[in-house]
Amino acid sequence: MEIFTLDFMQRAWLAGLVMAVLCPVIGCFIVLRRQSMIGDGLGHIAFAGVAGGVFMGFQPVLAAAVATVAGSVIIEKVRTRMHDFADMVLAIFFYAGMALAVIFTSLNHSGGVSLSGILFGSLMTISPVDLYIVGILGLFVIAFVVLLYRPLQYLTFDEVSARVAGLPVESLNLWLSVLTALTVALSMRVVGILLVGAMMVVPVGCALLVSRSFSGTILGGIAFGLLSVVAGMLLSYYASLAPGGTIVLTGVACFVLCLLFRNR
């Protein structure tokens, strides 16, 4: 039972469960807005934030959060001005993020943060400070979505009509980008930058196969997110596998099962 009693495992469980709820909630909006790859791209910018934070002596999760939020705001502004080339704009920012990360990493000779931990996740090394940041920012994101659930639903389903309804569409788009950025930054420690986008997409993909309502898709996404994290962490602990990869593969297995079940 030490999987539940060891301090570092308790922190890992708490961080994992926060991410299991947070990622599908935000993921539902980005998947349905056909922006599934944005989580991946913001991960590149989060990488730059972590590398820059370590180089300048800041807390890595906070540095990643600041970098991704700033990046997402700039991307949203440029994307709305260059609507026809939105995917190109995203790609340019993501490459810039990765390039910055490479430079900061090469400048950092003091060590301190493991590159593989950033890229592949380091769930077992989450510190109490990391956990506080994940908890507080996670609560902020969830509270925001709960308060603005219907306006965000309107925006996602029919942006034009939401505009005619008098909703501040530009502000909502911007806030959704900021929330996505925060989610990426917070989830980075759990599954790693390379897999953070997967946790925003895979549970929602499973829920889409079994739900016909918007609320059902969000709740289903949370359920599949929790299932992936719990089963993935148990499996990774007892089989000595990397937690990030095991969590994501558990989610993918759920997706395949849902697909098979749906097609029968």
Partner: protein, 246 residues
């Protein structure tokens, strides 16, 4: 009182004017069919009135206020062109779509209350959607989907309805049913502005025609006079139904 006023309205994509110097007023209780060939700017005009697009020149007013300063969007219901066709796989039920209409003009922080729930129930019943309320919107027929979007536009009890080609892609029975519903709403006092290619139905239910051609506004007045005018001057509407007045 004029609900919509257009003053010297013009729109261009940069190479020639789609329409220009367009000035007119639409009064309360009118049922206006915006007609004309493809590409003359019918939907653009409706989108300018709904403040989705900005005009290149001139001003559109709603209830005497320029649309860019208009805030009382709860008085306006809008049905976009083919809303569900773009979202066939979107996971949202009929009930959830109708509920969204209660946000119109109420701001970001509106919390759903018993009044909202009662209004949604009433609309589901009125548009014969009660049995379909838990169905996914993409699983409905074109006619049923249009009834859902009309219910969403009406759930806030707006005074003005803006509809962008509401009958596109639906069969003739569903079309008759939809226009019948619009006629009934108009008789109950709703002002309706509708972009339409369907001259037969427009002649049957609308009161006023707003006809656009390549030069901009070519007729604005009584619907039957408008269709006579159209026939006399030989406007081409491209693949539409037979002229109901011939």
């Amino acid at each position: 009182m004029d609900i919509i006023t257009l003053k010297e309205l013009g729109f261009t994509y940069g190479d020639g004017w789609l329409f220009r110097h367009l000035s007119l007023a639409i009064g309360q209780g009118d049922f206006v069919a915006v007609i004309g060939a493809n590409g003359v700017g019918k939907s653009t005009l409706l989108r300018i009135i709904a403040h989705i697009m900005a005009p290149s020149e001139g001003t559109a007013y709603l209830y005497g206020t320029p649309v860019d300063r208009f805030r009382d969007w709860g008085r306006v219901g809008y049905v976009p062109q083919n809303p569900a066709r773009r979202q066939r796989t979107f996971p949202i039920t009929v009930r959830e779509v109708v509920q969204l209409g209660r946000l119109d003009g109420r701001g970001l922080c509106h919390r759903f209350n018993d009044g909202d729930r009662a209004a949604v129930e009433a609309m589901l019943q009125r548009f014969r959607l009660t049995d379909l309320q838990q169905r996914k919107i993409g699983a409905l027929s074109g006619g049923q989907q249009q009834r859902v979007f009309l219910a969403r536009a009406m759930v806030n009890d707006p005074e003005l309805l803006l509809l962008d080609e509401p009958a596109t892609g639906i069969d003739s029975d569903a079309k008759e049913d939809l226009y019948g519903l619009l006629g009934e709403l108009n008789r109950q006092g709703k002002t309706i502005v509708m972009v339409s290619h369907d001259l037969e139905m427009a002649a049957k239910y609308a009161k006023t025609s707003l006809c656009l051609d390549d030069g901009g506004l070519c007729f604005f007045g009584d619907i039957r006079a408008g269709l006579h005018h159209r026939h006399k001057h030989g406007y081409f509407f491209g693949g539409g139904p037979a002229d109901p007045l011939i």
